[in-house]
Protein backbone atom coordinates (compact mmCIF):
# COMPACT_ATOMS: atom_id res chain seq x y z
CA UNK A 1 0.00 0.00 0.00
CA UNK A 2 2.91 2.38 0.73
CA UNK A 3 4.14 2.44 -2.91
CA UNK A 4 0.62 3.17 -4.17
CA UNK A 5 0.14 5.99 -1.67
CA UNK A 6 3.47 7.54 -2.71
CA UNK A 7 2.43 7.39 -6.37
CA UNK A 8 -0.95 8.97 -5.56
CA UNK A 9 0.85 11.74 -3.64
CA UNK A 10 3.08 12.33 -6.64
CA UNK A 11 0.11 12.61 -8.99
CA UNK A 12 -1.57 15.10 -6.64
CA UNK A 13 1.62 17.20 -6.66
CA UNK A 14 1.52 17.29 -10.44
CA UNK A 15 -2.06 18.50 -10.41
CA UNK A 16 -1.12 21.25 -7.96
CA UNK A 17 1.70 22.29 -10.29
CA UNK A 18 -0.71 22.48 -13.25
CA UNK A 19 -3.09 24.55 -11.19
CA UNK A 20 -0.30 26.93 -10.10
CA UNK A 21 0.88 27.43 -13.68
CA UNK A 22 -2.67 28.37 -14.65
CA UNK A 23 -2.37 31.49 -12.47
CA UNK A 24 0.28 32.85 -14.86
CA UNK A 25 -1.81 32.14 -17.97
CA UNK A 26 -2.17 35.30 -20.08
CA UNK A 27 -5.35 34.18 -21.85
CA UNK A 28 -3.97 34.17 -25.42
CA UNK A 29 -3.65 31.25 -27.80
CA UNK A 30 0.08 31.95 -28.20
CA UNK A 31 0.56 31.84 -24.45
CA UNK A 32 -1.33 28.55 -24.27
CA UNK A 33 0.73 26.95 -27.07
CA UNK A 34 4.15 28.54 -26.47
CA UNK A 35 4.07 30.07 -22.97
CA UNK A 36 4.49 33.43 -24.80
CA UNK A 37 8.08 32.37 -25.55
CA UNK A 38 9.20 33.11 -22.00
CA UNK A 39 11.03 29.87 -21.20
CA UNK A 40 14.61 30.36 -20.00
CA UNK A 41 17.60 28.01 -20.34
CA UNK A 42 17.11 25.85 -17.23
CA UNK A 43 13.43 25.22 -17.83
CA UNK A 44 14.13 24.60 -21.54
CA UNK A 45 16.85 22.06 -20.67
CA UNK A 46 14.64 20.18 -18.21
CA UNK A 47 11.53 20.24 -20.37
CA UNK A 48 13.38 19.16 -23.54
CA UNK A 49 15.19 16.37 -21.70
CA UNK A 50 11.99 15.16 -20.02
CA UNK A 51 10.19 15.17 -23.34
CA UNK A 52 12.85 13.22 -25.24
CA UNK A 53 13.30 10.61 -22.49
CA UNK A 54 10.47 8.12 -22.12
CA UNK A 55 10.08 5.26 -19.66
CA UNK A 56 12.48 3.40 -21.93
CA UNK A 57 15.33 5.48 -20.45
CA UNK A 58 14.79 3.76 -17.07
CA UNK A 59 12.98 0.48 -17.68
CA UNK A 60 14.06 -0.26 -21.27
CA UNK A 61 17.74 0.55 -20.76
CA UNK A 62 17.95 -1.80 -17.77
CA UNK A 63 16.07 -4.56 -19.63
CA UNK A 64 18.13 -4.24 -22.80
CA UNK A 65 21.40 -4.33 -20.84
CA UNK A 66 20.10 -7.50 -19.17
CA UNK A 67 19.68 -9.20 -22.56
CA UNK A 68 22.27 -7.48 -24.78
CA UNK A 69 24.98 -6.31 -22.38
CA UNK A 70 26.92 -3.10 -21.84
CA UNK A 71 26.87 -2.21 -25.55
CA UNK A 72 23.33 -0.90 -25.12
CA UNK A 73 24.74 2.39 -23.85
CA UNK A 74 26.65 2.96 -27.08
CA UNK A 75 23.75 1.70 -29.18
CA UNK A 76 21.17 4.07 -27.76
CA UNK A 77 22.55 6.56 -25.25
CA UNK A 78 25.87 8.01 -26.41
CA UNK A 79 24.48 8.21 -29.95
CA UNK A 80 21.57 10.30 -28.64
CA UNK A 81 24.00 12.52 -26.74
CA UNK A 82 25.68 13.49 -29.99
CA UNK A 83 22.67 13.57 -32.31
CA UNK A 84 20.01 15.20 -30.09
CA UNK A 85 22.25 18.18 -29.42
CA UNK A 86 23.04 18.31 -33.13
CA UNK A 87 19.31 18.59 -33.83
CA UNK A 88 18.88 21.32 -31.18
CA UNK A 89 21.78 23.23 -32.72
CA UNK A 90 21.18 22.77 -36.45
CA UNK A 91 17.38 22.61 -36.51
CA UNK A 92 16.06 24.00 -33.22
CA UNK A 93 17.86 27.35 -33.17
CA UNK A 94 17.08 28.38 -36.79
CA UNK A 95 13.46 27.22 -36.41
CA UNK A 96 13.14 29.28 -33.23
CA UNK A 97 14.44 32.35 -35.12
CA UNK A 98 12.02 31.80 -38.04
CA UNK A 99 9.16 31.03 -35.69
CA UNK A 100 9.74 34.27 -33.82
CA UNK A 101 10.02 36.28 -37.03
CA UNK A 102 7.02 34.78 -38.82
CA UNK A 103 4.84 33.67 -35.92
CA UNK A 104 4.90 29.93 -36.63
CA UNK A 105 3.49 27.68 -33.96
CA UNK A 106 3.56 24.34 -35.79
CA UNK A 107 5.82 22.55 -38.27
CA UNK A 108 3.06 22.51 -40.89
CA UNK A 109 2.84 26.34 -40.77
CA UNK A 110 6.59 26.54 -41.41
CA UNK A 111 6.56 24.15 -44.36
CA UNK A 112 3.46 25.73 -45.88
CA UNK A 113 5.11 29.14 -45.92
CA UNK A 114 8.63 28.01 -46.86
CA UNK A 115 7.39 25.95 -49.81
CA UNK A 116 4.29 28.00 -50.64
CA UNK A 117 2.27 24.83 -50.61
CA UNK A 118 -0.95 24.46 -48.62
CA UNK A 119 -1.25 20.97 -50.13
CA UNK A 120 2.09 19.86 -48.72
CA UNK A 121 0.98 21.06 -45.29
CA UNK A 122 -2.25 19.11 -45.69
CA UNK A 123 -0.31 15.97 -46.65
CA UNK A 124 2.31 16.36 -43.91
CA UNK A 125 -0.30 16.81 -41.17
CA UNK A 126 -1.71 13.23 -41.18
CA UNK A 127 1.78 11.75 -41.57
CA UNK A 128 2.98 13.53 -38.43
CA UNK A 129 -0.16 12.65 -36.48
CA UNK A 130 0.00 9.00 -37.58
CA UNK A 131 3.63 8.74 -36.49
CA UNK A 132 2.95 10.31 -33.06
CA UNK A 133 -0.08 8.19 -32.13
CA UNK A 134 1.72 4.84 -31.56
CA UNK A 135 4.31 6.75 -29.51
CA UNK A 136 1.45 8.16 -27.41
CA UNK A 137 -0.13 4.73 -27.01
CA UNK A 138 3.13 3.26 -25.69
CA UNK A 139 3.08 5.92 -22.94
CA UNK A 140 -0.59 5.46 -22.01
CA UNK A 141 -0.38 1.65 -21.98
CA UNK A 142 2.98 1.74 -20.17
CA UNK A 143 1.56 4.05 -17.48
CA UNK A 144 -1.37 1.68 -16.90
CA UNK A 145 0.93 -1.31 -16.62
CA UNK A 146 3.17 0.48 -14.09
CA UNK A 147 0.17 1.37 -11.88
CA UNK A 148 -1.15 -2.19 -12.11
CA UNK A 149 2.19 -3.60 -10.98
CA UNK A 150 2.70 -1.17 -8.09
CA UNK A 151 -0.82 -1.60 -6.73
CA UNK A 152 -0.88 -5.42 -6.58
CA UNK A 153 -2.45 -6.51 -3.30
CA UNK A 154 -3.40 -2.96 -2.31
CA UNK A 155 -7.16 -3.66 -2.50
CA UNK A 156 -7.12 -7.10 -0.91
CA UNK A 157 -8.90 -6.00 2.27
CA UNK A 158 -11.76 -4.55 0.19
CA UNK A 159 -11.83 -7.58 -2.11
CA UNK A 160 -11.59 -5.39 -5.22
CA UNK A 161 -10.14 -6.55 -8.55
CA UNK A 162 -9.29 -10.16 -7.57
CA UNK A 163 -8.56 -11.03 -11.22
CA UNK A 164 -5.78 -8.40 -11.12
CA UNK A 165 -4.27 -9.80 -7.90
CA UNK A 166 -6.20 -7.11 -5.98
CA UNK A 167 -4.37 -4.35 -7.81
CA UNK A 168 -5.56 -1.56 -10.07
CA UNK A 169 -6.45 -2.94 -13.55
CA UNK A 170 -4.15 -1.49 -16.20
CA UNK A 171 -7.12 0.06 -18.06
CA UNK A 172 -7.93 2.10 -14.94
CA UNK A 173 -4.24 2.93 -14.47
CA UNK A 174 -4.08 4.23 -18.06
CA UNK A 175 -7.23 6.26 -17.39
CA UNK A 176 -5.69 7.85 -14.28
CA UNK A 177 -2.50 8.73 -16.19
CA UNK A 178 -4.55 10.26 -19.01
CA UNK A 179 -6.74 12.28 -16.64
CA UNK A 180 -3.81 13.66 -14.63
CA UNK A 181 -1.89 14.68 -17.76
CA UNK A 182 -5.06 16.09 -19.30
CA UNK A 183 -5.80 18.25 -16.26
CA UNK A 184 -2.42 19.94 -16.05
CA UNK A 185 -2.10 20.38 -19.81
CA UNK A 186 -5.69 21.67 -19.98
CA UNK A 187 -5.10 24.18 -17.19
CA UNK A 188 -1.55 25.28 -17.86
CA UNK A 189 -1.01 24.72 -21.60
CA UNK A 190 2.66 24.89 -22.52
CA UNK A 191 3.64 26.65 -19.27
CA UNK A 192 2.05 23.90 -17.18
CA UNK A 193 3.66 21.28 -19.42
CA UNK A 194 7.11 22.85 -19.13
CA UNK A 195 6.85 23.18 -15.35
CA UNK A 196 5.59 19.62 -14.97
CA UNK A 197 8.33 18.33 -17.27
CA UNK A 198 11.02 20.14 -15.29
CA UNK A 199 9.68 18.69 -12.03
CA UNK A 200 9.33 15.21 -13.51
CA UNK A 201 12.81 15.27 -15.08
CA UNK A 202 14.31 16.16 -11.70
CA UNK A 203 12.31 13.37 -10.05
CA UNK A 204 13.34 10.60 -12.44
CA UNK A 205 16.99 11.65 -12.56
CA UNK A 206 17.37 11.84 -8.77
CA UNK A 207 15.47 8.62 -8.15
CA UNK A 208 17.45 6.80 -10.84
CA UNK A 209 20.72 7.64 -9.09
CA UNK A 210 19.33 6.75 -5.63
CA UNK A 211 18.11 3.40 -6.96
CA UNK A 212 21.54 2.72 -8.46
CA UNK A 213 23.29 3.31 -5.13
CA UNK A 214 20.83 1.13 -3.18
CA UNK A 215 20.97 -1.75 -5.70
CA UNK A 216 24.78 -1.57 -5.95
CA UNK A 217 25.07 -2.01 -2.20
CA UNK A 218 22.51 -4.81 -2.29
CA UNK A 219 24.14 -6.83 -5.07
CA UNK A 220 27.75 -6.13 -4.07
CA UNK A 221 27.14 -6.50 -0.35
CA UNK A 222 30.26 -4.54 0.68
CA UNK A 223 30.51 -1.84 3.37
CA UNK A 224 31.17 0.99 0.91
CA UNK A 225 29.43 1.96 -2.33
CA UNK A 226 32.50 1.69 -4.57
CA UNK A 227 33.55 -1.67 -3.10
CA UNK A 228 30.02 -2.91 -3.74
CA UNK A 229 30.16 -1.75 -7.38
CA UNK A 230 33.44 -3.64 -7.81
CA UNK A 231 32.08 -6.80 -6.21
CA UNK A 232 28.86 -6.73 -8.25
CA UNK A 233 30.67 -6.20 -11.56
CA UNK A 234 33.23 -8.89 -10.70
CA UNK A 235 30.32 -11.33 -10.55
CA UNK A 236 29.31 -10.33 -14.11
CA UNK A 237 32.91 -10.89 -15.27
CA UNK A 238 32.90 -14.33 -13.66
CA UNK A 239 29.43 -15.48 -14.76
CA UNK A 240 28.53 -13.60 -17.97
CA UNK A 241 31.68 -12.02 -19.43
CA UNK A 242 30.08 -11.64 -22.89
CA UNK A 243 27.69 -9.10 -21.34
CA UNK A 244 30.64 -6.77 -20.75
CA UNK A 245 31.31 -6.58 -24.49
CA UNK A 246 29.11 -5.75 -27.49
CA UNK A 247 29.19 -9.26 -28.93
CA UNK A 248 25.41 -9.66 -28.80
CA UNK A 249 24.72 -6.63 -31.01
CA UNK A 250 25.10 -7.04 -34.82
CA UNK A 251 27.65 -4.53 -36.14
CA UNK A 252 25.51 -3.32 -39.03
CA UNK A 253 22.57 -2.69 -36.68
CA UNK A 254 24.85 -0.76 -34.33
CA UNK A 255 25.99 1.53 -37.14
CA UNK A 256 22.50 2.17 -38.51
CA UNK A 257 21.08 2.97 -35.07
CA UNK A 258 23.03 6.22 -35.20
CA UNK A 259 20.25 7.53 -37.43
CA UNK A 260 17.39 6.80 -35.00
CA UNK A 261 18.01 9.76 -32.62
CA UNK A 262 17.77 12.11 -35.61
CA UNK A 263 14.01 11.60 -35.29
CA UNK A 264 14.07 14.29 -32.58
CA UNK A 265 14.57 16.82 -35.38
CA UNK A 266 11.05 16.22 -36.66
CA UNK A 267 9.04 15.43 -33.51
CA UNK A 268 6.13 17.91 -33.45
CA UNK A 269 6.26 18.17 -29.65
CA UNK A 270 9.99 18.98 -29.65
CA UNK A 271 9.38 21.62 -32.33
CA UNK A 272 6.82 23.26 -30.06
CA UNK A 273 9.18 23.18 -27.08
CA UNK A 274 11.92 24.81 -29.18
CA UNK A 275 9.61 27.70 -29.98
CA UNK A 276 9.00 28.39 -26.29
CA UNK A 277 12.55 29.70 -25.74
CA UNK A 278 12.84 33.28 -24.53
CA UNK A 279 15.86 33.86 -26.74
CA UNK A 280 18.21 31.83 -28.92
CA UNK A 281 20.90 31.74 -26.24
CA UNK A 282 18.49 29.73 -24.05
CA UNK A 283 19.36 26.78 -26.31
CA UNK A 284 23.01 26.78 -25.22
CA UNK A 285 22.40 25.03 -21.90
CA UNK A 286 20.28 22.19 -23.39
CA UNK A 287 22.78 21.71 -26.23
CA UNK A 288 25.72 21.30 -23.83
CA UNK A 289 24.00 19.47 -20.95
CA UNK A 290 21.86 16.99 -22.88
CA UNK A 291 24.68 14.41 -23.36
CA UNK A 292 25.58 14.68 -19.65
CA UNK A 293 21.97 14.20 -18.54
CA UNK A 294 21.77 11.11 -20.75
CA UNK A 295 24.93 9.82 -19.07
CA UNK A 296 23.47 10.36 -15.59
CA UNK A 297 20.24 8.50 -16.41
CA UNK A 298 21.46 5.70 -18.67
CA UNK A 299 24.81 4.55 -17.25
CA UNK A 300 23.40 3.50 -13.82
CA UNK A 301 20.47 1.69 -15.49
CA UNK A 302 22.84 -0.22 -17.80
CA UNK A 303 24.92 -1.29 -14.78
CA UNK A 304 21.78 -2.49 -12.93
CA UNK A 305 20.86 -4.51 -16.04
CA UNK A 306 24.31 -6.15 -16.06
CA UNK A 307 24.20 -6.98 -12.35
CA UNK A 308 20.75 -8.50 -12.86
CA UNK A 309 22.33 -11.25 -14.99
CA UNK A 310 24.28 -12.64 -12.02
CA UNK A 311 23.14 -15.43 -9.72
CA UNK A 312 23.36 -13.00 -6.79
CA UNK A 313 20.43 -11.05 -8.21
CA UNK A 314 18.40 -14.25 -8.37
CA UNK A 315 16.08 -13.24 -11.19
CA UNK A 316 13.91 -16.19 -12.30
CA UNK A 317 14.62 -17.77 -15.69
CA UNK A 318 12.49 -16.28 -18.45
CA UNK A 319 12.39 -12.83 -16.86
CA UNK A 320 11.22 -10.33 -19.47
CA UNK A 321 13.23 -7.20 -20.24
CA UNK A 322 10.59 -4.82 -18.87
CA UNK A 323 10.42 -6.67 -15.54
CA UNK A 324 14.14 -6.44 -14.72
CA UNK A 325 14.23 -3.03 -13.02
CA UNK A 326 11.04 -3.66 -11.02
CA UNK A 327 12.34 -7.04 -9.81
CA UNK A 328 15.72 -5.60 -8.83
CA UNK A 329 14.05 -2.77 -6.90
CA UNK A 330 11.65 -5.16 -5.22
CA UNK A 331 14.55 -7.39 -4.16
CA UNK A 332 16.98 -4.76 -2.91
CA UNK A 333 14.84 -1.77 -1.90
CA UNK A 334 11.95 -1.38 0.49
CA UNK A 335 8.40 -0.26 -0.28
CA UNK A 336 9.34 3.42 0.03
CA UNK A 337 11.94 3.29 -2.72
CA UNK A 338 9.66 1.07 -4.81
CA UNK A 339 6.95 3.73 -4.57
CA UNK A 340 9.34 6.56 -5.33
CA UNK A 341 10.90 4.74 -8.28
CA UNK A 342 7.44 3.99 -9.66
CA UNK A 343 6.73 7.71 -9.42
CA UNK A 344 9.99 8.27 -11.32
CA UNK A 345 8.96 5.87 -14.09
CA UNK A 346 5.55 7.54 -14.32
CA UNK A 347 7.39 10.89 -14.45
CA UNK A 348 9.39 9.73 -17.46
CA UNK A 349 6.22 8.50 -19.18
CA UNK A 350 4.08 11.56 -18.45
CA UNK A 351 6.78 14.11 -19.31
CA UNK A 352 6.60 12.87 -22.90
CA UNK A 353 2.84 12.30 -23.01
CA UNK A 354 1.92 15.85 -21.97
CA UNK A 355 3.98 17.47 -24.71
CA UNK A 356 2.61 15.09 -27.33
CA UNK A 357 -1.01 15.77 -26.32
CA UNK A 358 -0.37 19.52 -26.36
CA UNK A 359 1.39 19.35 -29.74
CA UNK A 360 -1.44 17.39 -31.38
CA UNK A 361 -4.07 19.74 -29.92
CA UNK A 362 -2.11 22.74 -31.18
CA UNK A 363 -1.72 21.19 -34.63
CA UNK A 364 -5.45 20.51 -35.00
CA UNK A 365 -6.22 24.06 -33.89
CA UNK A 366 -3.64 25.90 -36.02
CA UNK A 367 -3.17 23.64 -39.04
CA UNK A 368 -6.80 22.73 -39.60
CA UNK A 369 -9.30 25.05 -37.90
CA UNK A 370 -7.48 28.38 -37.89
CA UNK A 371 -5.90 27.78 -41.31
CA UNK A 372 -9.10 26.80 -43.12
CA UNK A 373 -11.59 29.02 -41.26
CA UNK A 374 -9.29 32.01 -40.73
CA UNK A 375 -7.74 33.08 -37.42
CA UNK A 376 -9.67 36.38 -37.40
CA UNK A 377 -12.95 34.51 -37.04
CA UNK A 378 -12.02 33.48 -33.53
CA UNK A 379 -11.26 35.47 -30.41
CA UNK A 380 -8.19 34.58 -28.33
CA UNK A 381 -10.45 32.98 -25.76
CA UNK A 382 -12.12 30.86 -28.42
CA UNK A 383 -8.75 29.77 -29.81
CA UNK A 384 -7.64 28.62 -26.37
CA UNK A 385 -10.84 26.67 -25.88
CA UNK A 386 -10.50 25.14 -29.34
CA UNK A 387 -7.02 23.87 -28.40
CA UNK A 388 -8.35 22.58 -25.09
CA UNK A 389 -11.25 20.87 -26.84
CA UNK A 390 -8.90 19.13 -29.25
CA UNK A 391 -6.62 18.05 -26.41
CA UNK A 392 -9.59 16.49 -24.57
CA UNK A 393 -10.63 14.72 -27.79
CA UNK A 394 -7.10 13.42 -28.48
CA UNK A 395 -6.64 12.17 -24.91
CA UNK A 396 -10.04 10.44 -25.12
CA UNK A 397 -9.25 8.87 -28.48
CA UNK A 398 -5.81 7.71 -27.33
CA UNK A 399 -7.31 6.16 -24.22
CA UNK A 400 -9.94 4.33 -26.27
CA UNK A 401 -7.28 3.04 -28.68
CA UNK A 402 -5.23 1.83 -25.72
CA UNK A 403 -8.11 -0.47 -24.72
CA UNK A 404 -7.78 -2.52 -27.93
CA UNK A 405 -5.31 -5.43 -28.11
CA UNK A 406 -1.99 -3.67 -28.38
CA UNK A 407 0.90 -6.09 -28.58
CA UNK A 408 2.11 -4.58 -31.84
CA UNK A 409 2.14 -1.02 -30.52
CA UNK A 410 5.40 -1.57 -28.65
CA UNK A 411 7.02 -2.97 -31.79
CA UNK A 412 5.87 0.14 -33.64
CA UNK A 413 8.09 2.51 -31.64
CA UNK A 414 11.21 2.13 -33.76
CA UNK A 415 9.15 2.33 -36.93
CA UNK A 416 7.71 5.67 -35.82
CA UNK A 417 11.20 6.96 -35.06
CA UNK A 418 12.34 5.76 -38.49
CA UNK A 419 9.55 7.73 -40.13
CA UNK A 420 10.48 10.91 -38.26
CA UNK A 421 14.17 10.40 -39.09
CA UNK A 422 13.32 10.09 -42.78
CA UNK A 423 11.60 13.49 -42.61
CA UNK A 424 14.75 15.17 -41.27
CA UNK A 425 16.29 15.69 -44.76
CA UNK A 426 13.18 17.76 -45.54
CA UNK A 427 13.56 20.12 -42.58
CA UNK A 428 17.33 20.41 -43.08
CA UNK A 429 16.87 21.29 -46.76
CA UNK A 430 14.11 23.78 -45.90
CA UNK A 431 16.50 25.55 -43.51
CA UNK A 432 19.80 25.34 -45.37
CA UNK A 433 19.19 24.66 -49.08
CA UNK A 434 17.48 27.47 -50.97
CA UNK A 435 17.22 25.23 -54.05
CA UNK A 436 14.70 22.96 -52.29
CA UNK A 437 11.61 23.11 -54.46
CA UNK A 438 7.99 22.38 -53.70
CA UNK A 439 8.15 19.33 -55.98
CA UNK A 440 11.33 18.16 -54.23
CA UNK A 441 9.58 18.37 -50.87
CA UNK A 442 6.59 16.42 -52.22
CA UNK A 443 8.90 13.79 -53.70
CA UNK A 444 10.70 13.42 -50.37
CA UNK A 445 7.45 13.00 -48.45
CA UNK A 446 6.00 10.51 -50.95
CA UNK A 447 9.26 8.51 -51.05
CA UNK A 448 9.38 8.40 -47.27
CA UNK A 449 5.77 7.20 -46.95
CA UNK A 450 6.11 4.67 -49.80
CA UNK A 451 9.39 3.09 -48.69
CA UNK A 452 8.30 3.11 -45.05
CA UNK A 453 5.03 1.35 -45.97
CA UNK A 454 6.71 -1.28 -48.16
CA UNK A 455 9.37 -2.14 -45.57
CA UNK A 456 6.79 -2.12 -42.77
CA UNK A 457 4.75 -4.64 -44.78
CA UNK A 458 7.87 -6.72 -45.47
CA UNK A 459 8.62 -6.77 -41.73
CA UNK A 460 5.26 -8.44 -41.14
CA UNK A 461 3.86 -5.18 -39.76
CA UNK A 462 6.67 -4.85 -37.22
CA UNK A 463 6.22 -8.41 -35.96
CA UNK A 464 9.69 -9.31 -37.30
CA UNK A 465 11.84 -7.36 -34.86
CA UNK A 466 15.06 -8.36 -36.63
CA UNK A 467 13.93 -7.17 -40.03
CA UNK A 468 16.80 -5.62 -41.98
CA UNK A 469 17.19 -4.27 -45.49
CA UNK A 470 18.45 -5.49 -47.96
CA UNK A 471 16.83 -8.85 -47.31
CA UNK A 472 19.11 -11.92 -47.69
CA UNK A 473 17.36 -13.30 -50.82
CA UNK A 474 17.90 -10.04 -52.72
CA UNK A 475 21.59 -10.74 -53.36
CA UNK A 476 20.60 -13.80 -55.44
CA UNK A 477 18.03 -11.94 -57.53
CA UNK A 478 18.95 -10.92 -61.13
CA UNK A 479 19.27 -7.32 -59.92
CA UNK A 480 21.12 -8.45 -56.78
CA UNK A 481 24.27 -6.53 -57.75
CA UNK A 482 22.35 -3.37 -56.87
CA UNK A 483 22.23 -4.30 -53.18
CA UNK A 484 24.86 -7.04 -52.80
CA UNK A 485 27.50 -4.55 -51.64
CA UNK A 486 25.34 -3.40 -48.72
CA UNK A 487 25.08 -5.33 -45.41
CA UNK A 488 21.60 -5.81 -43.93
CA UNK A 489 20.83 -2.56 -42.08
CA UNK A 490 18.00 -1.24 -39.96
CA UNK A 491 15.17 -0.06 -42.29
CA UNK A 492 15.71 3.55 -41.14
CA UNK A 493 18.73 3.73 -43.47
CA UNK A 494 16.80 2.78 -46.63
CA UNK A 495 13.81 5.01 -45.77
CA UNK A 496 16.01 8.04 -45.05
CA UNK A 497 18.20 7.47 -48.10
CA UNK A 498 15.13 7.26 -50.36
CA UNK A 499 13.63 10.41 -48.86
CA UNK A 500 16.91 12.37 -49.21
CA UNK A 501 17.62 11.15 -52.75
CA UNK A 502 14.11 12.02 -53.97
CA UNK A 503 14.38 15.46 -52.38
CA UNK A 504 17.70 16.31 -54.04
CA UNK A 505 17.04 14.86 -57.51
CA UNK A 506 13.53 16.29 -57.92
CA UNK A 507 14.52 19.70 -56.51
CA UNK A 508 17.37 19.95 -59.03
CA UNK A 509 15.16 19.22 -62.05
CA UNK A 510 12.16 21.34 -61.04
CA UNK A 511 11.47 25.06 -60.71
CA UNK A 512 13.23 26.69 -57.73
CA UNK A 513 11.28 28.72 -55.16
CA UNK A 514 10.46 32.37 -55.88
CA UNK A 515 13.14 34.92 -54.88
CA UNK A 516 10.71 36.83 -52.63
CA UNK A 517 10.03 33.65 -50.65
CA UNK A 518 13.73 32.88 -50.36
CA UNK A 519 14.41 36.40 -49.08
CA UNK A 520 12.09 35.69 -46.14
CA UNK A 521 13.92 32.52 -45.18
CA UNK A 522 17.47 33.32 -46.29
CA UNK A 523 17.77 37.06 -45.57
CA UNK A 524 21.51 37.12 -46.34
CA UNK A 525 20.96 36.16 -49.99
Amino acid sequence: MIPLLLVVGYLVLLLALGSASNRLFRGTARDYALASQTIGPVLLLLSLFGTTMTAFALVGSTGRAYTLGAGVYGLLASASGIVHSLCFFLIGVPLWRLGRRHGFVTQVEFFRRRLESPGLGLALFPVLVALVIPYLLVGVIGGGTVLEQVSRGAFRSWGWFPQYEFGLPSYLGSLIVCVVVLIYVFLGGMRGTAWANAFQTTVFMVLGVVTFVVIAKGVGGQPTFWASVKAATARVLAENPAHLSREKIPKAVYASFLLIPLSVGMFPHIFQHWLTARRASAFKLPIVMHPLFILVVWAPCVMIGLWATTSAAGLPPGTKENQVLALMVARYAGPWLTGLLTAGILAAIMSSLDSQFLALGTMFTHDVVLYYFGPQRFSERQKVWLARGFIVAIVGLTYLLSLFPHRAVFDMGLWCFSGFTALVPLVLAALYWPRLSRAGAWASLVAMVAVWAVLFYRSDFAANKRYAFPEPWMADAPWGWLVSWCPPLHPVVAITAASAAALVVVSLVTRPPKPEVLRQFFPGR
Binding site: R30, S36, Q37, T38, A70, G71, Y73, G74, A77, S78, A79, G81, I82, S85, L86, F89, V93, R97, G99, R100, R101, H102, G103, W226, V229, K230, T233, A234, V236, L237, P241, A242, L244, S245, R246, E247, K251, Y254, A255, L258, A277, R278, R279, A280, S281, K284, I287, V288, M289, H290, P291, L292, I294, L295, A299, V302, M303, L306
Partner: protein, 76 residues
Protein backbone atom coordinates in the same frame (compact mmCIF):
# COMPACT_ATOMS: atom_id res chain seq x y z
CA UNK B 1 33.78 30.46 -39.74
CA UNK B 2 37.04 28.62 -39.03
CA UNK B 3 35.61 27.82 -35.59
CA UNK B 4 32.60 26.18 -37.21
CA UNK B 5 34.81 23.94 -39.32
CA UNK B 6 36.72 22.96 -36.19
CA UNK B 7 33.47 22.09 -34.41
CA UNK B 8 32.24 20.14 -37.45
CA UNK B 9 35.48 18.16 -37.45
CA UNK B 10 35.09 17.49 -33.72
CA UNK B 11 31.56 16.19 -34.20
CA UNK B 12 32.70 13.99 -37.11
CA UNK B 13 35.49 12.66 -34.89
CA UNK B 14 32.93 11.93 -32.15
CA UNK B 15 30.84 9.92 -34.62
CA UNK B 16 33.96 7.93 -35.56
CA UNK B 17 34.78 7.35 -31.88
CA UNK B 18 31.21 6.19 -31.39
CA UNK B 19 31.67 3.50 -34.05
CA UNK B 20 34.43 1.83 -32.01
CA UNK B 21 34.59 -1.57 -33.66
CA UNK B 22 38.00 -2.10 -32.10
CA UNK B 23 36.27 -2.38 -28.69
CA UNK B 24 33.71 -4.92 -29.88
CA UNK B 25 35.02 -7.96 -28.02
CA UNK B 26 36.57 -6.22 -25.01
CA UNK B 27 35.48 -7.80 -21.74
CA UNK B 28 37.89 -6.11 -19.36
CA UNK B 29 37.00 -3.74 -16.55
CA UNK B 30 38.21 -0.25 -15.78
CA UNK B 31 39.22 0.24 -12.13
CA UNK B 32 37.83 -3.27 -11.50
CA UNK B 33 34.37 -1.73 -11.48
CA UNK B 34 33.03 -0.72 -14.89
CA UNK B 35 33.09 -2.45 -18.30
CA UNK B 36 35.70 -0.87 -20.60
CA UNK B 37 33.14 -0.61 -23.45
CA UNK B 38 30.77 1.31 -21.21
CA UNK B 39 33.53 3.60 -19.95
CA UNK B 40 34.53 4.33 -23.56
CA UNK B 41 31.02 5.47 -24.40
CA UNK B 42 30.64 7.42 -21.17
CA UNK B 43 33.76 9.21 -22.40
CA UNK B 44 32.04 9.81 -25.74
CA UNK B 45 29.15 11.44 -23.85
CA UNK B 46 31.55 13.69 -21.92
CA UNK B 47 33.39 14.61 -25.12
CA UNK B 48 30.05 15.34 -26.80
CA UNK B 49 29.20 17.83 -24.06
CA UNK B 50 32.64 19.46 -24.47
CA UNK B 51 32.28 19.60 -28.27
CA UNK B 52 28.83 21.17 -28.02
CA UNK B 53 30.15 23.66 -25.49
CA UNK B 54 32.79 24.69 -28.03
CA UNK B 55 30.05 24.92 -30.65
CA UNK B 56 28.15 27.44 -28.54
CA UNK B 57 31.37 29.49 -28.14
CA UNK B 58 32.94 29.26 -31.59
CA UNK B 59 30.00 28.68 -33.86
CA UNK B 60 27.01 30.49 -32.40
CA UNK B 61 25.23 32.67 -34.98
CA UNK B 62 26.03 36.33 -34.25
CA UNK B 63 22.59 37.60 -35.15
CA UNK B 64 21.07 35.38 -32.46
CA UNK B 65 23.09 37.15 -29.79
CA UNK B 66 21.82 40.56 -30.82
CA UNK B 67 18.14 39.66 -30.81
CA UNK B 68 16.08 40.78 -27.80
CA UNK B 69 13.88 38.42 -25.81
CA UNK B 70 10.96 37.01 -27.77
CA UNK B 71 8.46 37.14 -24.91
CA UNK B 72 5.29 38.05 -26.78
CA UNK B 73 3.68 38.21 -30.16
CA UNK B 74 5.68 37.63 -33.38
CA UNK B 75 7.76 40.42 -34.87
CA UNK B 76 6.55 42.01 -38.11
Amino acid sequence: MRGCWFVALLIALLVLLHQDYWNWHRRDLVADALPATLVWHMGVSLLAAAAWYLATILCWPREEEQEPDAGGEPQP
